[in-house]
């Protein structure tokens, strides 16, 4: 297997694992880490689009342009993207901090349930509940109001 294929596989794997962390985890902190992994994989993928095997780095020394060099445009874009990724992570972490200060937990389900209840309290509405909630088995604990 040649080098380019291997690195493409690595970039796609990083994006896949980052997406898995975003989708499968219910913990807000781990979701931010997944977002960071996704950004890393995307930047590697972008740099690889300009890669040419056997080429040299796009640096002009003493006015001599190398005969074959890697495409410098994706590199410049990725340079910006890395810095923006830091900003995105800082924003996400700030939001996580605010949520943790308000609710004291990182669990997605718990936060969503309590946030919904708070919104309904503020608006003076009843908690929306589905009519298709299955009947509990006899002997099982009764579901709390607003559980579904």
């Amino acid at each position: 297997m040649d080098m380019g294929t291997l690195m493409f596989a690595g970039a796609l794997g990083l994006m896949l694992i980052g997406t898995a962390a975003l989708v499968l985890s219910g913990h807000l902190m781990r979701m931010v880490f997944g977002l960071a992994l996704l950004e890393s994989g995307a930047s590697l993928l972008l740099v690889l689009t300009g890669y040419r095997s056997g080429a040299s780095a796009p640096i002009i020394l003493d006015g001599v342009v190398p005969a074959s060099m890697v495409d410098p445009v994706p590199q410049a874009l990725v340079l910006t993207a890395i810095v923006i990724a830091l900003g995105v992570q800082a924003l996400a972490l700030g939001l996580v901090l605010r949520v943790h200060r308000a609710y004291g937990t990182f669990e997605m389900r718990e936060i969503r349930r309590r946030m919904e209840r708070d919104i309904c309290d503020q608006a003076g509405l009843e908690l929306p509940s589905s009519n298709e909630v299955p009947e509990p088995y006899p002997g099982s604990p009764k579901p709390q109001q607003g559980e579904y």
Partner: protein
């Protein structure tokens, strides 16, 4: 050069899976730094030294500091997290460290 790329890619993907699976957030942050450093070595190999420098300074350095500060502020910067739903299985015969 292929074997070097192979080793780095395997280490990076392993560390990324560790980010997904580890219980302690201290260890998650360490695994994420490993991913970032491996990425910067890969950037050097694909002839992008400027991107590698930026990734090592910002991705591995500043961003890890940011994560560490936030983890410390919310109280996850310790071995025994004690957060419900993300609870650490207590090892037998080992006291949680303070």
């Amino acid at each position: 050069m292929e074997w070097l790329v192979l080793i780095i890619v395997v280490v990076m993907l392993g560390a990324a899976v560790a980010v997904l699976l580890l219980q302690h957030y201290l260890a998650v942050l360490a695994a994420w730094s490993v991913v970032s450093l491996g990425l910067s070595v890969l950037f050097v190999i694909v002839r992008a030294p400027d991107v590698a420098m930026t990734e090592a300074a910002i991705g591995a350095g500043l961003s890890s500091v940011l994560f560490a500060l936030v983890l410390r502020r919310v109280g996850l910067w310790r071995i025994d997290t004690g957060v419900p739903g993300d609870a650490v299985k207590k090892l037998p015969g080992r006291e949680p460290q303070r």
